[in-house]
Symmetry: C2
Subunit: 241 residues, 2 copies
DNA sequence: CGTCGGCTTGAGGGAAATCAAACGATGTGG
DNA sequence: CCACATCGTTTGATTTCCCTCAAGCCGACG
């Protein structure tokens, strides 16, 4: 159903994107299973596979020589992992499983061939990369300009939206498989400070997180905190299925 | 000449990338001229054109409702502008000229058609988007983890490298058409603090900036400051011509 | 020559980091 | 099943980096 306010530009583009997704899905033969904390891409190494998550979460990160760590992306079921590394000789990122994971995989070489044969797949890849770029730009705004509260609220909202779009929210709640340290690595602050901000958020009744379970009690309040940063997200990805 | 340590994965990919670049260059018919401060893309509007800069610099930015501003990208001659917006209905970014600009342009619809006809062009776009994503990831690490000095040093080095690669460095010096306020908007700090850090950098003899002219006196020192952040950049873009 | 935008410099304050310690949960081996 | 070790969370005290506010300065330009 070609939605009225679809974020994609033209109807034929929407169509090609969908067809490309289907073709790609059919080409992704293998399923792989990984344990929690499994490292599925090592920095500096060649990356042969492109993944699409069926269940479980993974994080993509960079670690600096002195130990500082920045999580660049959190992928949830439905997301692709590794598209942007395809053209390059080796990955700069590390990718680790945050939970047990099952993923469809395809070899990069196969994916290139498929894209050469089927232009819809190329379009799918172009759209996917553009959307990911837009997401990263959004986070750049957050890290560059926003306060701790704004960033945390925006992160919770963003995850809520994405999970909701895939039917993975249970009455505004979801399991967030990240330590507070990792949340800090994602939004650029200390674990200690994450903890304090989290407490402020729950104090105001906007959202709580206990035992790794996030509850979005008052999304309007969260949006108000994350404002005006929050306008940026709505488009994000076009629906995947 | 397929370099030994080319950042691109396979020789045939390098070849397709180059052919795609040539095809695209030939298809970019029109030249446009813009004055300093001209706004060539307005946020929220449809963006019909994709640009490739011949001379001059442009900045891509997001402005929040309360006035905070984040510059997401600084494009120099040779760079493309607007690729990542192609699939979407409208742009979230604003794009403004930092100097007088001359740019080759192509309509997005034409570019889509070209990519459909010539798979090398698709590859060129895929590689370009992937490289840009990698750059944004690098900046995310900087904004999330690095100190003011590290970020500023990294920015100067990055610009130096990119300009050098295009023959736009004059003995380690270049004109940087940004106010200190804008530098701050780019690397996420106040103009006042930019000024102080700049002074520290020139005090240590690493680099100076006077009257908008940046001189990279001691790149080793800059690299040392920007370390280990700085390892991330070398790949960046494959050479454009 | 005066005005204006941008740069420079100082003083003070605030957000988040750091350091440190206690507490709680989860899991393991005896 | 308890004892203990480990990892993560929570809380407090202190420090630091960077922001804010404010004023003076300098160069560009009308």
């Amino acid at each position: 159903m070609p939605a009225v306010n679809h974020p994609l530009r033209r109807p034929e583009l929407v169509r090609a994107f969908r067809l490309g997704e289907i073709a790609l899905r059919q080409a992704m033969g293998g399923i792989r299973y990984y344990g929690r904390h499994a490292l599925i891409v090592r920095p500096g190494e060649q990356q042969e596979l492109v993944f699409r998550l069926r269940t479980g979460w993974v994080g993509r990160a960079r670690t600096l020589a002195d130990g500082r760590n920045q999580i660049l992306n959190i992928a949830i079921p439905g997301d692709f992992v590794g598209l942007h590394t395809m053209p390059f000789d080796r990955s700069l990122d590390s990718v680790a499983c945050l939970t047990r994971v099952t993923a469809m995989v395809i070899h990069q070489s196969q994916l290139w061939e498929l894209a050469a044969r089927d232009h819809n797949v190329s379009i799918f890849l172009l759209v996917g990369l553009s959307a990911e770029l837009r997401r990263q730009d959004n986070w750049l705004v957050g890290l560059g300009q926003c306060t701790a509260e704004e960033r945390l609220a925006a992160m919770l909202l963003d995850l809520g939206e994405r999970l909701g779009g895939r039917g993975l929210l249970v009455r505004g709640a979801f399991r967030l498989p990240l330590t507070q340290q990792q949340i800090g690595d994602y939004i650029g602050m200390t674990a200690v400070h994450i903890n304090r901000v989290l407490k402020r958020l729950s104090g105001s009744g906007a959202a709580t997180m206990r035992r790794r379970v996030v509850r979005l009690h008052d999304r309007a309040a969260l949006k108000h905190i994350a404002e005006p940063f929050d306008d940026l997200w709505p488009d994000a990805l076009p629906p995947y299925e």
